[in-house]
Structure formats: C-alpha cells, structure tokens
Amino acid sequence: MTATAEPEVGKARLRKEDARLITGQTKWTDNLQLTGMLHMAVLRSPVAHARIRSIDCSRATAMPGVAIVLTGEDLAAEQGSLPCAWPITEDMLAPAAPALAVDQVNFAGEAVALVIADNAYRAADALAAIDVDYDELPVVLDLEEALQDNDLVHPDLGTNKSATWIFDSAEAGSGTNVEDEIASAEVVLERTFRQQRLIPSFMEPRSVVVDPSADMFTIWSATQIPHILRWMLAAVSGIAEHRIRVIAPDVGGGFGGKLQVTPEELLCLLVARRMGRPVKWTESRTESMLSGHHGRDQIQKITLSARRDGMVTGLKVELLADMGAYLRLVTPGIPILGAFMFNAIYKFAAYRFVCTNVFTNKVPTDAYRGAGRPEATFAIERMMDELAVELGRDPMELRQQNWIKHDEFPFSTVAGLTYDSGNYEAATDRAMELFDYSALREEQARRRSSRDPVQVGIGISTYTEMCGLAPSRVLGALRYAAGGWESASIRMLPTGKVEVITGTSPHGQGHETVWSQIVADRLGVPFEDVEVLHGDTASSHRGMDSYGSRSLAVGGTALVHAADKVLAKARRLAAHMMECDEADVEFATGSFSVRGTSTVRSLGDVVLAAHVAHDLPEGMEPGLDADATFDPDNFSFPHGTHLCATEVDTQTGMVRIRSYVAVDDVGTVVNPLIVDGQVHGGLAQGIAQALYEEAIHDETGTLTTATFADYLVPSAADLPAFMTARTATPATSNPLGVKGVGEAGTIASTPAVVNSVLDAVRHLGVRDIEMPLSPERVWTALRGGAAEASTPAAGGLGSIDSQGGQS
C-alpha cells in the first residue's frame, strides 16, 4: 500500500520496550504493593503419591502475622476443577484437578495447604508449622510400566491411560496404508527415541496479585494468556466474567510455561474473595520447577519404510506421552500438535500416528517452546540420518531426494495439511555455503583415520513447522475448546498519535516494536507516534494471547486489517474535505491528495476533522478508530536448514559445538534484529535439550533437579557464535507474508546437534545416545555401554546433597 519515505518493515529497529524491561523500570507483578495486601505461601507435598490422612494447622494458625491457614477441605466447595481445554477424544479420561489437594496428592510439589499472612516472611515461616499426615501410595513414574496398570495414579479412573489419538492416512484419504508400505518395503527401520522431560525456564518466576476491591476482581499475573485466564477463572470460580479484569503487565518470559491456568492463580482469587483483601503470591525458582508445568517427556517408537534407492514410503509413529498427574490447560493436545509434523518436508506415501497419553505421579506436562513439533522434528530428522547410514548415502543428498521441491507448492501432505509455500533447496544451498560442508567432511575423515581423540561430526536438520495457531475451524475439528483468531484495534488520537490495542500478549518478544513498525508503514505515521497496549482485558477485551508462533501471523494480520479500515474511512473523509470524488484520492507517506492537483490533507488533519466532527459526510460516525479480527485460513510453515558441527572428546565424552549455521525461512521479516534474537534464543533452548537439560526424578518421585545448580540451563559462555541467515519465501496465508519465528530455533536445533554427535562417533560403534548427551553418557556409549547408562544427576545446589558435579 503506502509507506513512509523509508519503509519500517525490514528495519532492524532497536526494541522500544527494552530500556524499561532491562532496567526493571516497569511493573512486574511482584513489584505491586497494595494497601492491606496479604501474602500467600503454599505448602507443597514432599511425596509423589499419598492419601492425606490429616492436616493439623493449629500451630501455624497461631504464629505471628498469620491471618488464616487453608487446606483443600476448606476450599473444596468453591475451588472446582482446573480446566483442561483440549479433550482430544470423546472418551478421554480426565481426573478432577483440584487447585489445592483435598484427600490425595499425586505429585511431589502439589499444593496441600496455604498460609495467608501479613508479609511473605511470616507466611513462609508458618509453612513449617503445618503437620500433614500422609499415607503413602505406590508411585507410578515410568511410562511403560504405567501402561501395565499395576499401580494407578488415579484409582477411580481404573487405568493410567488417558486417551489414544490416531491419525491414519489411509482412513483420512491423504495417503496409502502404512502397514502395506512396511510389508512391501525393501528397507524397514525401527527406532525408539526418548524425549526427556524439560522445564520451561522463564526468567521471571510466576507471580499473582488479586485485588478484590471496588466490586471487581483485578488480577495481575505473570501470564502469557490474560484473555484465556479471565474466561477460565470465571468458568471455574463462578465469578461473573465481567467482574474479573486480568492484567498481564510486563512479563519476563514464558516459553509456554505461562500458557496455563495455574492452581495458584485460582487460589489467590479464592483467598482474596474470602478475605476481602488483596493477596499476592510469588514463587521461588525451586517452587517453579516443582510445580509449574514441564514439557516434552515422550517415548517415540518410529518405523520408517523405504526403497533401496532411498525413496521413503511409509512412516509409523507410536508415541507414549507423559501427562504427569493431571491434565492442565492443553496437556493432552501437546503431542497431537506434533502429529502433523512427523512427515515434515518429505513425501511419504503413507503415515500413521498413534499417541497414547499416560498418567504418572509427576508434575503435569504442557506447552513448552515448540510444543509437540520439536519432538516430531527430532524423530524424523534422526530417522533420515539412520536411513542414510543404512543405505550408505550422504544424509543431505538423501533428504534432497525426498523433500517437496519448490515448484510443488502448494503441497498437500500425507498428514492432511496444505503447505502453502517453501523453498527447501534455497535454504539448504545457503546453509551449505556458509557451513563449508565439504571442508568439514575432509577434516572428519582425517581425524577418523588418525584416530584423533577428538572426533568431528556433522548434523543436519531440514525442518518445517506449523505456526500461526490457528484456523478456528481446524481447532474445532481437533476438539480444542477455543478459537484461533486474533484481534486488533487502532485508536486515532486527536493529536495524530496512534494507540494500538492487540489481543496478543507479548512476554519478551518485542511486539510493541514490531506492531509499531507495521502501523507506521501502513498509516504513514512516525514509528515513535505509535503506542501498543496489550495484556489488560479492560483495554483489550478480545484476544487469544501469545503462543505457538502466532502473534505476528495472526495478530499482525488483524492489525493490518484494522489499519486498512482506518484508511478506508479516512479516505472517504479526505475526499469530503477536499471536495473531490473518493476515487481520485491518493494516499502516500501519511498524506491524502487529489490525483493531478496540489490539494493535500495530512492524515493528522483528517483525524482531527473526524474527531471534532464539525463537518462529516452524511451518515459518517465521528472518529477514525477501527477494530478487526482475523481468523486464518491456514497455518504458516516456516522451514530451514540447520547444520551443526561438533567436536567429541572421546576420552571424556565432552561435546563442544564447533560451528552452527541456521538458515531459516520465516517469510517476510519485519524486524531482522528481533528475528535473530528469536532464533538465537530458540537455538539455545534446542541445544539445551540435546546436551544439557533434563528434569530427573528419583525412584520416590522427588524431582532432584529443582535448582539451576542441578537443572543445567546453558548460558552464552556454553554456546557457539551462531551463524544465522535467511531465505524469504513469503507465506500466502496472510497479507504480510510472515510465518512466525518464535519456535523455529528450538524445533530445528535438537536433532542437528544429536545427529552431529552420532556422526562423530558412529564409526566407533555407537548407534544412539539418549538425550541429554552428557559427557558421562557419551563416554559410556563409547565404551559400548547402554545408551542410558548414566547415574542420575547430582542433587541440590550442585553438590549439597550429593557428591555433586553433574556428569
């Protein structure tokens, strides 16, 4: 359409929100201090599975500053069950999910009692004075054992199996029958991979403040989903929705970990209602790790069939997915999000996906960056390498043989999706060029023949993902309880400044900057003149929030539509003001003019005229504000080629990433700096799954990695200098041509790293190593030991409870 002199879209603008975020000059939830505010502390179960015989609160209640001590029994009548919005099958089994355990605890870390006190210190002190008598039950931890139903997490359900979800290309009509393909195949590979359990390590711990005054419940929460939270809290608590206002102020990261309706949010609300006073709860890091939802945790059995010439034919995926003890907001649907991605960029004739969701006595799982898609990408990219090894083929060349060619788009996949656009050749060519593939292969050969103690490997990941969640009708077909649209509003202020209201809820991504760039181009106003409001249900009443790399593809599109509505109306008014025919009005760089004349009205003039409304065309309402809601027709499909070179020290098992090239095609790039930032962070988290992070439970179900001394999140010091580049094949499903970039790095990188390590040591007899590839696991595998050799990682604070030093 129109543009300021130099287009904003494509500019590497520094993020306008960063100064206040980085210096802390903003309102994080925990910064809020309200008059008369009480503080909530949560007593958590130290055991993973037990009946609660009794809870004695008398000592705690008598402690100084304590206002009240509450147990699940006290709240049983009002707390209801925490919502699960994604019943994936009609017969899915879902246990009641009390926010505060009533008579049974099902994971270590589950909330069993609350202390409400006049300050956070006294609340914490009183926790130790609550006496709970537990009657311990057998603990169910292992997925495969859980399926035997010998011991049950929820005896009333009669089984540990929650649901089985199936996609079959023969039944769906999107492909042939996988069993036929396997039966007639020249090559059949079967592998089992474990997706370890991860913890979404957002920087700002969760925090909630509820103010019950003025006949309203105002809830501040460090959440990704203020709109969904408001809806769900109303549904669960019975408080009328219009009496609830949710504010997600600045939020310090989420990665899916704050895509949740948490027990503590509901509990703060109930306590504030009961006490008639504001209540705050802020978690500690350990509390976060013990009770905030975890991610991944699947066992993947993959069968791939192919012809000897390398063409893949069939793919069968059998998953066991660990739900943990309860079904949280979208727990059961996470593995299902991966169902459409196992076939990835390859042309399989047949595909079958069967996922069994299983309960265990562990923290519930739910969304974590990538949510289902990293798991799928890992499995297929590992399998393509396995096939290359089996056939003695170069792994890149084998992928090339099987992927969708750029002139085959749009392409209907065997999983039933339509990929609108892509160019895998272009991204791969660029990556190979940056990586210097052949030089590394030569070095690898040299090190192999000289038996160098340090071996080099190359790992490939040619990934795609589905973003832009989501077409509402697709979500409906998948039995998801909500829609996938997004909304935006533009308020044209009388001085010409612009307020944008978005239904997305940024928590670190930089929407304020990007949304401003889009509006600046669209309306021809200066970048600085745009203010973006978000995360408050009072100002932005309609939204579906931020997750699933959706905000720009869906919310950005709504914004474009709203801007177009503003302009359409402004154009009519401008024609009226310039006394010409609307068809003769031109708009460029923020000004309307009459074609072929020097008559000009700036957008500011038109905005003011609309605002004062002294002279409007017949029937026109005052003001130029506009709203738009966009429901996408299709997902968007970012893709790319990632190449990773690792050095493996065969004497110690230590893995070092030598170089990492990420070429991503995320469509049109609005802000390259932000896209790079998203890719870097994503890579860090994907590499972390490959090499470092793992939530470990001991045999009693205690999480032994509940501090950052034990749960190893890498820092810049542990990561290589990433080489990032892009190709740009615009998405056709939205006017911006954008695809989404929030999860790409995480989805792509894990298999690139693992493939690389295996490539380095395969000639030494190693076939597989379980993630994370700790030095001890790599060393043990090199000695011919079992892949999952490792002793559990050391306990608290690096070395306080154990010999320490995570190996």
């Binding site: 210190y121 002190d125 509390e287 542990d718 060393w779 690096g798 306080i800 010999q803 030093g805």
Partner: protein
C-alpha cells in the same frame, strides 16, 4: 525463597567475632561472602539462630609476603586472588583455579577462606590447597592454632574447625617459578566440576624436580595424587602420561576422568 529468622551480628575484631561465636553457641554461624551460605539458608537446609558477619574485618583481607610463604587472609575475595601479584608470582595455581570459579558476580563476593571452610567436595579450591601444602591459621577461644590442609578437610562438607573457631589466614608455601594448570570438566560454565585436577610442576634441567597434584570431586573431600607426584620426581616430561594412570585405579567414569585430566593438567602445567 525466604530463610528462617536469624539474628545478625557485626563484630569489629576477630576476637570479638570469636567471643560472639562462644556466646551464641552451636547454632550460630560465621558468614563471609555468603555465596554458599545464603543459598543454604534460603532453601532452609540450615537455620542458624545468629549470623556473625566477618565481612567488615579488614584484618582478614589481602595477601601478605611472609618470607618462604604467602599469608592469604580468609576474607580475600576470589576476585582479589585472581588479581594479586604475589599469588601470580608464587602460587600461580591458585589464580588459575580461581579463574574457573563461578562467575564474576560470585567472585566479587565469595572468599578464599569461605570456600575452604564450606568444604564442598566439588569446590575448586580444596584440591589446590591440599596439593600446595597450605596451612590453616585458626582463631578460637583458646587462641590461635595451625592445621595443615591434610588434616583440615575431614570429609563431606566437614572441616577440623570447631563451631566456635574462625579461619583467619591461609599460609601457602611459595612455588616461585613452578608451572601450573587447572583442568576442569564441567557441563556448563556455571556448573560445578564433575572432576578437576590441579597440578603444579617444577622443572629443573629438563626433568621434573617436583610435582603437586590435587583432585577435585572424586571423593568426600579433596584427594592428593601422591603416587602420581612421586612417580614423576626426577623423570622427563615424557613420563607424564604413564604417571597420570596412577591418579586412579578404578573403572568408573570419574576414575577415567581423574587419569585423563591429570595427564592434561600436568602436560599443560609443564608447557606453561
């Protein structure tokens, strides 16, 4: 996380600090840089009734030249150890080890003495202190006493310090001109050592005149690889790899690391 309540006391001399420890009884604790103690308090793994902050005792900071040895004040921070020229010239190993401890923030607060008193078997400063024959100078109600490192580290998070004693100085003999290296294997930069090896070597006329080797995190306390040390005396540098095999005889992962990292530490120490 929030620690349990405690009283906070701020002595102005070592003698006053000792007196406070005696008066407060067994449940009082000294706090130095707080980098190990504060996490313990916040996780409520310990709940001392009183903290005696020795951070204000300037007499405990800094490094002094004491003839054949250095005297390192217990409150000397890691940051100061890294930059001290006496340590650089006469106990280079300590500088190199300290370079690997934690991150800059922690090194600005955490202290040399605090690390030794905390006696975490994964702590990096124990093995070099043992290998370099450091001597702990301790103040208590009965006056001062000296305890060699070999008797100071008693076990897992355990030292020879009595509850009413304070480490005031650490005497380290001078190793002027010795080559040194610390070979540390940890998974991410801020993680503790899985195993690490501290080595110092004196070369004279092309052969190894003396060697000191200390192992981090292979037992309940630091371990001195005496067999490796004695196997090297009078040997050429080429003897290092064989001698390093004596660092451990076991078959486990850590045993392997002890041998591999000893080899690497000694080789790098010799290379200077």
């Amino acid at each position: 996380m929030i620690p349990a309540e405690f009283r906070y006391l701020c002595p102005s001399t070592v003698d006053e600090a000792v007196r406070m420890l005696v008066e407060e009884g067994e449940d009082a604790k000294v706090i130095a840089g707080g980098q190990s103690l504060v996490p313990v308090l916040r996780m409520r793994l310990a709940a001392p009734t009183a903290l005696i902050d020795i951070g204000g005792l300037t007499e405990l900071t800094g490094v002094r030249d004491d003839g054949d040895s250095l005297l390192i004040g217990a409150m000397t921070t890691h940051y100061e150890v890294q930059r001290d020229h006496l340590i650089h010239d006469h106990a280079l190993l300590l500088k190199l080890v300290t370079d690997t401890v934690a991150d800059p923030q922690v090194r600005h607060r955490g202290t040399f003495g605090g690390s030794l008193c905390h006696a975490d078997p994964a702590g990096d400063l124990l093995a070099p202190a043992l290998a370099l024959d450091a001597v702990m100078i301790i103040a208590g109600p009965g006056g001062r006493r000296e305890v060699p490192a070999s008797e100071f580290f008693v076990g897992y998070f355990e030292t020879a310090l009595a509850p009413d004693e304070i480490l005031i100085d650490v005497r380290v003999p001078k190793y002027t001109g010795w080559g040194a290296h610390y070979e540390k294997l940890n998974r991410v930069a801020q993680a503790w050592s899985i195993v690490a090896v501290a080595a110092a070597v004196q070369i004279s006329g092309g052969t190894i005149a003396a060697a000191r080797v200390g192992l981090t995190n292979v037992g309940s306390g630091p371990v001195r690889a005496v067999d490796v040390e004695s196997a090297l005396v009078g040997q050429p540098v080429s003897a290092i790899s064989d001698a390093a095999l004596l660092a451990s005889s076991g078959d486990g992962y850590k045993d392997n690391l002890a041998r591999v990292l000893t080899d690497r530490a000694l080789t790098a120490a010799v290379a200077g």
